[in-house]
Amino acid sequence: MGSDSVHQTQHHAQLALDPNAIAALRDLLGHDAHALREIIDEFLCAAPDCLAELRSAVASGDAEAAARAAHTLKANAATFGAVALADRCRAVEAQARSGPGTADLAQVDAIAAEWVHVDAGLRAVRPGAA
């Protein structure tokens, strides 16, 4: 990976999370670094499973399961200010709810690609072990 693309990834990671949302989270958690780390870890742990569920639901045409997975990912993304990820998930959820076979795997790929940036962004704001 060239230095340009490393730069680009860092840039994306910074853009992936809205700093206002992270500030609100810190406020919600009473500025407890340990709590913030716990919440971020919960999301880092849950998101890949959720993505996998979304992919298999879309692949198998299970609209209800697809909508549910997209809904969960959307809500969590919004919590961390991952605006682009939330938007993509919202679109898939709305499509899945409108009927089976409407969401396609290309959209899931786009969500997975955005997740890479969000993942990096989360690791950047995650407080280190105290």
Partner: protein, 355 residues
């Protein structure tokens, strides 16, 4: 904080582990005790274990969703007073409206805004605190005239409705009073009259409560009691009659005490009993409530008590009471039909052989 200074207990219901952890940590940072449930069924289990002070409830959950949990909580007389705040995404506003109609206190949009979260939680907890204070006040008022075991039952059954107003019940009313207390009060110092009266009413009140009756208040030198209200009982007439016997048994002991104390030679008493329908409930103003009975049945019981004065009997009971007895005793004696003031038809009266 609760009225007693302990931390509030909040139940967080959300199927999403990230949200659960976020709300738990956030609420703990504000000093609350937090329990979490990952689905509706578990939430209902935890609510049965301990009601708590507030519920934060996610609307979209698999199996039993937030709307279904809310419906069950609001249908449960033991738990419907607990404020429920719905957690919702911005695009679920239709469900939110439905939840507010079903009795939800408020809602919190996701993602959570720290200021809004604190404000809505605190508003919900304040309302719960007010409800608890009001319930304790009602309990205190009630505890004075209802047997202890019944207080909780009544407070639970009536819930928020335990204010002004009453219900039509079928039961028995008993009046008793001291004969010629006015003459006694004229011949004795007020302090002696008060001491005698307090002891007498205290003893008689205990007899009423011991027989499962409700003490409805003092009337001058006597008292009114109800059997069958606020809690319905099939044997209300039997209990009232037994209470009357116990009152007559108590009298010689009371008179002996008066003589020992040099307070007088003792009293005679009169008791009137009538069964039938009457209104039982809280009468008065919001600030000064009295639980009492209203209607023809208590009126007649009061008249019968007054009528004992002109008869050799200490106890007079209406035929309605004799007919309501589950186990009629063999020592009832007929006292004929008598006109009772305020009633067009004469009333068949009965007494007890030894009284």
């Amino acid at each position: 904080m609760r009225a007693d200074g302990s931390a509030d207990s909040i139940l967080v219901v959300d199927d999403d582990p990230v949200n659960r952890a976020l709300l738990r940590r956030s609420l703990e940072a504000q000093g609350h005790i937090v329990r979490t449930a990952e689905d509706g069924a578990r939430a209902l289990e935890l609510l049965v274990e301990e009601t708590g002070d507030l519920v934060l409830l996610d609307i979209v959950m698999p199996e039993l969703d937030g709307v279904a949990v809310l419906e069950r909580v609001k249908a449960d007389p033991l738990r419907r007073h607990v404020p429920v705040i719905m957690i919702s995404a911005v695009d679920e506003i239709d469900s939110v409206v439905r939840c507010i109609e079903l009795g939800a206190e408020d809602y919190l949009p996701k993602p959570f805004d720290p200021v809004l979260l604190r404000a809505r939680i605190n508003a919900g907890l304040s309302r719960k605190r007010l409800h608890d204070l009001e319930r304790d006040r009602v309990r205190d008022v009630f505890a004075r005239f209802v047997p202890e075991g019944i207080v909780d039952q009544v407070v639970t059954l009536t819930g928020d409705g335990l204010r002004l107003g009453g219900t039509l019940v079928e039961g028995t009313i008993l009046f008793n009073d001291i004969r010629d207390f006015t003459a006694y009060a004229e011949r004795h110092p007020p302090s002696a009259a008060l001491e005698v009266l307090n002891r007498f009413l205290g003893r008689m009140s205990d007899v009423v409560l011991d027989h499962g009756g409700s003490h409805l208040g003092f009337r001058g030198d006597g008292m009114m009691a109800a059997f069958g209200a606020p809690i319905t009982m099939a044997d209300h007439a039997d209990r009232a009659l037994d209470a009357a016997r116990s009152m007559l048994d108590e009298l010689p002991r009371f008179n002996a005490w008066m003589r020992e104390q040099g307070l007088g030679t003792g009293f005679r008493i009169g008791i009137g009993i009538c069964s039938g329908p009457f209104m039982a409930g809280n009468v008065g103003s919001e600030r000064r409530l009295e639980y009492t009975a209203i209607g023809d049945t208590p009126n007649t019981a009061a008249r019968l008590e007054a009528m004992t004065k002109g008869t050799p009997h200490s106890v007079l009971l209406a035929d309605s009471t004799r007919r309501a007895l589950v186990q009629p005793p063999s020592d009832l004696v007929a006292f004929g039909e008598h006109a009772v003031r305020g009633r067009r038809e004469p009333v068949r009266l009965w007494s007890i052989e030894s009284a």
